[in-house]
């Protein structure tokens, strides 16, 4: 099971991120989680939002380069060692991680972790085998 993530090309100069956030906010879309990968010249903003299709449309028409990327998100226990356990499972299955970011939910005790791996299906299957719940679009809607 995968969820949709927005990936946005952001040039590396001050105020640019604020512009992006303005477009998303202006379209009435809520950001649940985000992370930024940065290089000297540009950054890639990745975000889980309330409506990725609509956000993509708003950003594209504002002139941004944006794609929707399927990612696997897992619900893990918000306790010490919770993340380590999940990472170990992926390592043992020889699944390498491109990038990862986490967010805490309103539901007490749970944290969601977004994984970008080469093979989403396999990662989801490995999680299932190990009793780790992957989250769905509906889980996101309920946030």
């Amino acid at each position: 099971m995968t969820i949709e993530q927005l990936s946005i090309f952001v040039e590396n100069y001050s105020g640019r991120l604020a512009d992006v956030a303005d477009v998303i906010g202006g379209a009435g879309i809520n950001m649940h989680a985000m992370s930024i990968a940065d290089t000297a010249d540009f950054g890639i903003l990745r975000a889980i939002v309330s409506d990725s299709r609509q956000a993509k449309e708003a950003l594209s028409s504002a002139g941004y380069v944006v794609t929707v990327t399927p990612v696997v998100a897992a619900a893990i226990q918000d306790t010490p060692g919770g993340l380590a356990k999940v990472l170990r499972i992926l390592a043992d299955a020889d699944i390498s991680i491109e990038y990862i970011y986490a967010f805490i939910t309103r539901r007490k005790g749970d944290a969601y972790v977004v994984f970008r791996v080469a093979d989403n299906e396999r990662a989801a299957a490995v999680f299932a085998e190990n009793g780790i719940r992957t989250i769905s679009a509906r889980d996101i809607d309920e946030l």
Binding site: S7, T39, D41, Y64, V65, E98
Partner: protein, 431 residues
């Protein structure tokens, strides 16, 4: 006053014209008989070799341009069987196709002699140590000055470009007296010498700097920092290479080796020949070469020719610094770059040609950036993939241009467009 070939460099106007006429007549005949491409141009213009009786008839001949070189690539302008050629040199074309020039041993000897004249004019002799930091290879800079230095009998250090520490080490240990490179590289080496406090260990007395535009201010700066005399040199691969013209001690323009290359200044719009002292496009006719004797080749360089008496005693016509171009060619770190080449790389890689070239000069060294507008097709959510695409573009540009730009991906539609037309080149250099 020293000359390498005084009989040519100081010839009377009368003798020079007689020699030019004799060589021109012979070369036109040679080209007409052996170069079908040019014969056709002459036929179209209704000119026969017999119509060219002296240099007064030069303006009857048709022009050649860079696009002729492209159309005739690679052998179309070769005037001898390939078996008689011994070398090629090459420079950028306007798109993917490079310009290839051919040389017989005789042609290389002429070229070397022209460079030898420049070295002697800069005070060089067999007792000098000539440090050549121009690039070697297809680029004419290294081979040209190297050959000239051999003719003079100087000890030649074929350093080529790059590796600053090694450059300075050889310069000091072997007591180099004459430095040959681009002016920006000379300025760069000078900076390094001062930073490292090596001024007292350098024995340089003169420099021969060419292949890119520089100013009087830059000349004075280099001269002061290195405690040398700095001389300009001009040339182009199509005609031979560096040494088509060179500066003497007067430092007020470059003497054209007009016993080999007849210069003309024309109106770039009408093609009419302009009188001495008027700025226009520089045109060369080769009158002594065998393999690749281009006739009335339009350089696209703008300058002025003058025939005032020179204190050095040379009677060769002088050309001013190049003040501009009639096309969009850029010279970056001594390398010719056409915006159309960048466009070709982007199109080949499947990208829309939304780009901007930004050139600047920082600490006397050219900086070269190509901004490319990001497209949804190029974009990925991982830095690795975006950087891989950036890297591929950089590699293709390096392969096409021979120098590496900095490739920067920018947001779509962020490249300035004035009146709907994109501004392709921003040249911030103040030369």
């Amino acid at each position: 006053m020293n000359y390498y070939q005084p009989e040519m460099e100081c010839a009377s106007r009368e003798n020079m014209r007689a020699l030019q006429s004799e060589r021109l007549v012979k070369t036109v005949k040679h080209v007409y008989e052996n170069v079908a491409y040019y014969r056709k141009l002459m036929d179209e213009k209704g000119v026969e070799p017999g119509d060219i009786k002296s240099i007064d008839d030069l303006n009857k001949l048709p022009f050649l341009t860079k696009s002729d070189l492209r159309d005739a690539y690679p052998y179309g302008l070769l005037a001898l069987p390939l078996a008689d050629a011994v070398r090629i040199q090459s420079t950028s074309g306007t798109t993917g196709r490079r310009v290839v020039a051919f040389y017989t041993q005789h042609d290389i000897d002429i070229w070397d002699e022209c460079c030898a004249r420049a070295i002697v004019a800069a005070g060089g002799s067999k007792n000098d140590v000539v440090h050549v930091s121009y690039g070697y290879g297809l680029f004419t800079g290294g081979p040209g000055l190297n050959g000239g230095s051999h003719k003079v009998g100087s000890l030649t250090l074929p350093m080529s470009s790059g590796n600053t520490e090694r450059q300075l080490q050889f310069m000091m240990d072997l007591d180099a007296t004459i430095l040959c490179c681009t002016p920006s590289y000379a300025a760069f080496l000078a900076e390094n010498i001062i930073q490292q406090g090596l001024q007292d260990k350098i024995s340089l007395k003169a420099g021969i700097f060419g292949a890119e535009a520089w100013s009087e201010e830059m000349r004075h700066d280099i001269e002061n920092k290195l405690n040398i005399k700095a001389y300009d040199i001009y040339g182009l691969t199509e005609i031979s290479g560096p040494g088509v013209s060179f500066e003497c001690t007067e430092q007020t323009g470059m003497h054209v080796n007009e016993d080999h290359f007849i210069p003309e200044i024309i109106d770039p719009d009408t093609g009419d020949v302009l009188p001495d002292g008027t700025q226009g496009e520089l045109v060369f006719t080769c009158i002594s070469k065998e393999a690749f004797p281009l006739l009335r080749y339009r350089t696209r360089d703008l300058c002025v020719l003058t025939r005032d008496e020179c204190s050095c005693g040379r009677t060769l016509v002088k050309m001013s610094r190049i003040t501009g171009r009639t096309d969009d060619m850029l010279i970056i770190r001594g390398v010719n770059v056409f915006p159309s080449q960048i466009e070709a790389v982007l199109m080949n890689a499947g990208y829309p040609a939304n780009y901007q070239i930004i050139v600047d000069r920082v600490n006397y060294t050219d900086t070269f950036e190509v901004q490319v507008e990001m497209t949804p097709e190029m974009f990925s959510d991982t830095v690795k993939e975006v950087e891989a695409m950036e890297g591929e573009l950089l590699a293709s540009m390096r392969a096409m241009l021979g120098i590496s730009p900095k490739v920067t991906l920018v947001a779509p539609r962020s490249i300035t467009r004035s009146e709907g037309k994109a501004v392709r080149v921003i040249d911030k250099r103040k030369i």
